[in-house]
């Protein structure tokens, strides 16, 4: 199977390419750039004039809900949503049901992903059994079954000795540990950022310290154990500063942020709109500015969707009684382009944060369009305007405040392993 992507603006940060050119794909791999390989006959031609051609996006945190409650989503439905958003690699957390703390669950996810045949899913394994923070999960076996990193998700390990042991064990095998930092006691019962909006609405707040105290503890233990660590979905400006300081001292820590925390603040919760019930919560304008600054300076390497689909009923209740999270696979790229429009990042920088940077954090053979590499490709029209509607969106969840909102930048084609897995009509 030969595919020719013609006349697109190829942006490949890994190889510092930004030019209008042709891309030749053969047998699932990049065969050539600019000039046709000898004897190349295209089976399929994609005209990418006025479009951007870049590596398929890598979403470093997205919940596919499988195994688990199928009314929220499945690998099949959420894979389709992902490729419609230009995402060809998705990292899923272990908070499935059952939890990814046995190789069988990890294998099931890989199998379902292959069946769906749209993209690559790399599950993250549990750091402790049942995420209970008591016994180590079988990390080596999980890694052998496809787990790419280990996390206890938002269930912080209360016992610092157990946490230390987890990190020591992970360091032994050079596994990446991902922290989704949240102190359980400080966040308990909370549903939004603890500030004046929270006070007015009479909701239970989650103070910054719920994140920063845990980030501090994790940084200290990362330093002590020498583990490779990544901080997922930061929400506080102070966390960014602490991580920047650690990086300056030479600690090999990385971080990502969800696009919603870059765009929205706690003031959006005004009026009790349940779609803004998110964990980590939307925080202050200062935090948002700090996160953007961290992204620009490179303290934060990657942007993720933190995609969390829910069925309607899960969001139809008084604010605090609803389940937190919003969908984001289909809007990740469009929303991220806002950072380019605001001239906070240029387009190649943004694409790096959605492709090469997450690949580097996770050590993936992806996010790179050099000759011979896997042809995971996203083609999008940066100027096309569109609306996400419940009828046209692919995710089983429809829970996003951006539903019906005018968005700019539309994915037109997505290729995974050299196969076209999505084409917009």
């Amino acid at each position: 199977m030969n595919i020719l992507i013609k006349n697109g603006r190829l942006i490949d940060p890994a190889n510092k390419i930004d030019s209008i050119t042709d891309l030749y794909i053969s047998n699932g791999h990049i065969a050539s750039i600019n000039t046709a390989p000898e004897g190349f006959v295209a089976d399929q031609l994609i005209d990418a004039s006025d479009k951007i051609v870049c590596p398929g996006l890598i979403d470093i945190c997205a919940h596919a809900r499988e195994p688990g409650p199928s009314q929220k989503g499945s690998i099949k439905t959420e894979s389709m949503a992902a490729v419609a958003g230009g995402i060809t690699t998705m990292i899923t957390p272990p908070t499935t049901n059952p939890i990814i703390d046995t190789p069988a669950v990890a294998k099931l996810i890989k199998d379902r992903c292959t069946e769906a045949g749209k993209l690559t899913i790399h599950p993250m394994g549990a750091l402790t059994k049942a995420l209970e923070g008591e016994q180590l999960a079988p990390m080596h076996a999980l890694a052998s079954s496809g787990c790419i990193a280990f996390t206890n998700s938002r269930n912080a390990i209360a016992n610092s000795l157990v946490l230390t042991r987890c990190l020591e064990y992970a360091a032994t095998h050079d596994f990446l540990v991902v922290f989704q930092a949240q102190d359980a006691a400080l966040a308990q019962g909370g549903c939004m950022h603890d500030d004046s909006t929270c006070t007015r609405l009479g909701l239970n707040g989650i103070p910054e310290s719920a994140e920063t105290v845990e980030v501090a503890r994790c940084l200290l233990l990362t330093e002590q154990t020498g583990v490779r660590a990544h901080f997922g979905q930061l929400s506080c400006e102070r966390s960014v500063r602490m991580i920047a300081e650690a990086q300056e001292r030479g600690l090999p820590v990385t971080a990502d942020v969800s696009i919603q925390n870059l765009l929205l603040t706690d003031e959006n919760v005004n009026g009790f709109n349940n779609n803004f019930h998110l964990i980590p919560p939307l925080r202050s304008q200062l935090d948002r500015a700090g996160l953007i600054q961290g992204l620009i300076s490179g303290t934060i390497q990657a942007i993720c969707s933190d995609h969390q689909p829910h069925e309607r009923a899960a969001k139809e209740a008084p604010f605090a009684d609803t389940e937190p999270g919003m969908i984001g696979l289909e809007t990740l790229l469009s929303l991220s382009l806002w950072l380019v429009e605001q001239e906070m990042l240029d387009l190649p920088q943004l694409i790096e944060k959605l492709t090469l940077a997450p690949a580097a954090i996770l050590g993936l053979d992806a996010g790179n369009l050099a000759i011979g590499r896997k042809a995971d490709i996203c083609i999008f029209d940066p100027k096309a305007e569109w609306r996400l509607t419940p009828e046209t969106s692919y995710s089983r969840g429809k829970n996003t405040p951006f539903m019906g909102h005018q968005l700019k930048g539309k994915v037109t084609n997505t290729l995974h392993n050299g196969q076209v897995v999505y084409s917009a009509n």
Binding site: G202, L203, N270, F272, A313, A317, P318, F319
Partner: protein
């Protein structure tokens, strides 16, 4: 990036009339004054031989209490009956939700029974707002207390009591004392006092019972009661729930009483004609001394009497707003 939903519009008709009563926030001084004036006209009704007016005749009012309550429920029931409505009291915490029914389904079921008004008390902040905005916008929703968010009829009966005792609002200094953090009453009082023109609103509590940035609501914060209560005209005490001791918010009831309990000694620091209020039920010897609760400056029982009048006022106003809103909508459809 996203336009905020405008929370001020939920409880008003296009013409700015009340159609739900969710919160005292965002309401104009005119609307709040109209509530007080309407309530005033109902105050004397209770003393009459025949205590009824026909304003809600033929209407069905459902009191939906997801949280236990005695005085609020009974005053709402009396208010509805004095307006000649048919009243149904439902204690939901012991029926539907224990069978797994969602709040929305419970409301839709009652909606199908052609109810005209839901009086809702719920432990979650935003519950009444959720019902009014998303579940049954065409049924008048009266918030009888939602989580820590709002208890607007309590606040308005407090305003009525203050107006009766003091006349104008502008020159007053008002102190709200106690568990501000968990108090929907305090939040609703603060919004109402501000809108009615009170400049000097003080909250008095230890840091553990103060919500973050409460000063953003336009109040002055005092952690020392002697300083906070000095020269105020009105002292509004809040109930302290006993479980606060167990959650490490306070060391003991006795320490709280010593520092923040309203005693005659502390009341002496307020203006000589300062009045004392409390939403009830009172904890004697925890937040208020019996000698204060029972003294002639205590307006606690006036508050109860006014509660019925204020609830009659907002119920009749909301039903009227709903009726107008419906006929307007019908008009545009034709």
């Amino acid at each position: 990036m996203l336009e905020h939903t405008d929370p001020s519009q939920v409880q008003l008709t296009k013409d700015g009339e009340l159609k739900h009563f969710i919160t005292t926030e965002y309401l104009s001084r005119e609307v709040l004054t109209e509530i007080l004036d309407t309530a005033d006209s109902f105050v004397d009704l209770g003393a009459k031989q025949v205590k009824k007016v026909p304003l809600l005749r033929g209407k069905t009012v459902v009191n939906l209490f997801f949280e236990a309550s005695t005085r609020t429920l009974s005053t709402f029931e009396l208010a509805a009956k004095r307006l000649s409505a048919d009243v149904l009291n439902l204690n939901i915490s012991t029926s539907s939700t224990s069978k797994g029914e969602t709040l929305k389904d419970t409301l839709m079921t009652l909606h199908a029974m052609h109810s005209d008004m839901f009086v809702v008390r719920h432990s979650s902040s935003g519950a009444a707002h959720f019902i009014a905005e998303h579940v049954t916008p065409d049924v008048a929703v009266i918030n009888a207390g939602d989580g820590r968010h709002a208890h607007p009829t309590q606040a308005m009966l407090d305003m009525l009591t203050i107006r009766q005792a003091k006349g104008a609002f502008e020159p007053l200094s008002v102190a709200i004392v106690g568990d501000i953090l968990h108090s929907r009453v305090a939040r609703s009082q603060i919004h109402a006092l501000r809108t009615l023109g009170v400049e000097d609103i003080r909250v008095i509590a230890p840091n553990t019972l103060l919500p973050r940035h409460i000063e953003s609501l336009g109040v002055k914060v005092y952690t020392n009661m002697q300083q906070g209560i000095k020269d105020v005209d009105v002292v509004m005490m809040l109930r302290l729930q006993k479980e606060r001791m167990n959650s490490a918010l306070l060391p003991s009831e006795s320490e709280f009483y010593k520092l923040y309990g309203l005693t005659m000694d502390k009341l002496a620091l307020a203006k000589p004609d300062a009045v004392v209020m409390h939403p009830g039920p009172i904890n004697r010897g925890v937040e208020i001394a019996s000698s204060v609760a029972d003294c002639d400056r205590s307006l606690i029982l006036d508050q109860v009497t006014n509660g019925i009048a204020v609830r009659m006022a907002v119920m009749s106003m909301a039903v009227s707003g709903q009726t107008k809103s419906r006929s307007n909508n019908n008009g545009t459809e034709v």
